[in-house]
Symmetry: C2
Subunit: 316 residues, 2 copies
Amino acid sequence: MRTPQVATLEGLPNRVTVYEVGARDGLQNESTVLDVAVKIEFIERLVASGLRAVELTSFVPPSWIPQLADAEALLKGLGELAGRHPVLVPNQRGLDRALEAGVREIAIFASATESFAQRNLNRSRAESLAIFADVAQRAVASGMAVRGYVSMCFGDPWEGDVALGSVADVVEALVAMGCGEVSLGDTIGVATPGQVVALLDELARRGIGPERLAVHFHDTYGQALANTLCALQQGVTTVDASAGGLGGCPYAGSATGNLATEDLVWHLQGLGIETGVDLEALCRTSLWMAGQLGRPSPSRTVSALAASLEGPVAEA
Amino acid sequence: MRTPQVATLEGLPNRVTVYEVGARDGLQNESTVLDVAVKIEFIERLVASGLRAVELTSFVPPSWIPQLADAEALLKGLGELAGRHPVLVPNQRGLDRALEAGVREIAIFASATESFAQRNLNRSRAESLAIFADVAQRAVASGMAVRGYVSMCFGDPWEGDVALGSVADVVEALVAMGCGEVSLGDTIGVATPGQVVALLDELARRGIGPERLAVHFHDTYGQALANTLCALQQGVTTVDASAGGLGGCPYAGSATGNLATEDLVWHLQGLGIETGVDLEALCRTSLWMAGQLGRPSPSRTVSALAASLEGPVAEA
C-alpha cells in the first residue's frame, strides 16, 4: 500500500490525538442499523489499528436514535480496550446508565446556538447548559472524565452566521462545569480557516488554551482538513474524525459527513506528526465497514487505496 | 443559497486567480464524450460565472484523447471570451493548429519524473523538454503567452517519492524556455503541506518566486485544499481547479479528480479573498454538467448546495 512521503512543517505539533467518532457520531447518522456484533468488531478493529480515543456509543433514549439503542449490549460485549473510550450522555438518566455500565468517561453535547438547542434538545440553550452542569458535576464526583461538545460553532442551518462570543460563552460554561476537553464542532461543515483562528484566539483571550480543546470538522463543503491544519497551527493537538467518513451521505444535499479519519491520518503522517495509527489496518477496517453498510466509503483516502487493498480485504 | 461567513486571516493574498481546468483536464478524464455544443455552453457559462482564466481544450492528436478531438470546432464555436483562455499544445504540430486557430496563450505539459515522461510522452524527460523548448520559443516569438505544467511534482505512481531538486530543475527549464507561469501539479494527489512548502522554498532559492507559480492539486487523498491553503500562505496567487471536480471518479481506486472549483471558491470567499467568481452561477453550471455526464458532481460544495439550487436548475 502506498504511504505518504514525509516532509515536516514548522509550527505544528509533534503528536496529535485522533479522537475517533465513527462508532457513535458516524453510525448514528447512517440509515442502516447494524448488529451489535458488527459494532463490537468495528470498535475492536479501530483500537487494534492504533486509535487510542474511540467514542463508543450514546446513552440517549433508544427511541431518539435507534441505531445506538444497543449501548448496554455493546459495552458488555467489548473486551478490555486500550486508551479512552467515552460514551455520550444527554441527561441524568443517561448518566445512570453510564455509571451502571462502568463507563469511565462521558461526553456531553451542547449547542452554540439557540435554534439548534431548541431543535436538538428541545430546550433553550441556558436550560440545556443547566442540565449538563448537573450531569457533569455528578460525573466528575463519580470519578469520570467529561468531554464537552459544542455544535454549530461556525454556522447554523437556521440562524446562518453564529456570533463568536456566543460560542465562547458555551465553551466557558462547559469548562466551568468540569469538562477536561471541549470539542469545537462545525456541525454543518461551513467553516473556513479565518473563523477557526478567530474562535481559538477568542478562547485563548478567555484563558482557554488549545491544550483543552479539540476540533470537530465536517467535510460537507470540503473544508474539514484545511480547517484542521489551521487549528494545528494554533496549537490544537486533538482532532475528531470518523473512520471511513462514516455518517456522511456523500451524494445528497444533506451531506454532513465528518472528516474521514484516513484523510486526516494521511495528512498527519505526511507532515511527520505521530498518531500511532496503522493506516493500512484502518483502511481495511473502513472497507470492511463499507461492506457492512452496503455502500462505498466517502473517505477519499480509503477510495484511493481500495484497489491495492482489495485482494487481502476479500480474504479477511 | 447559503454563502460562507467571512473571516479573514493574516498572511494570505487579497486576490486569487482561479485557473479553471475543467473543460480540458476535467473532460479529458471523463469517459463520456460530449458534443461540442455542450462544451461551448459549458465554457461560456464558466466565463459568465466570473472565471477569467479558463483552459479550453488540447491540440493533441485526436487519437490520443478522443474526448478533445473537436478542438478546432470548439474554438470556432466560442464567442469572444473575457480573460485568458489557453489551449494545451504537446508539440510543433499542436502549435501549428493553435496558431491557425488564433490562440493567444498555450500550455505545455512536462513531467517531473522520468517514468511519467516515458509513459505519457513516450520520450525521456530531457528529450521532451527539448521539444517543449522549441515549441515555447516559437510560441513566444509569435506573440503567445506560454504556461508550463509540471506533473508528478510530489509523487509518482511508478517511482514513489520524487526528489525536490529534480522537480525544481524542470520548473527552471520551463521558465528559461519562456513560460510566464508554471503550474506545480500533484497529479496523483498524494502531497501534504510540508512537501508544498519545501518545493516553494527551493524554487524561491533558485529565484523563481510565487508570483510566477500556480498550484494544481488533485483531491485523490482529500489533501488538495489544505495544500492549496499552504501555497497561499507562501504567496502563491494562482490556483488550478476543475468545476464540479470534473475528471475525478470519486468511487474508484483510480480517483484522480482535480480540486473542485466550488470547494476552492467557498474557501476563498470565506477567507475574504477576492476571486470574481459567482459561486451560485458556478454551482448551477456544474449541476447542469453533471446532468450531461449522467452522474453526480464529486464537488462537496456542489453536493451540499444542490438541494437549494435544484428547482431553478431544472428550469434552466
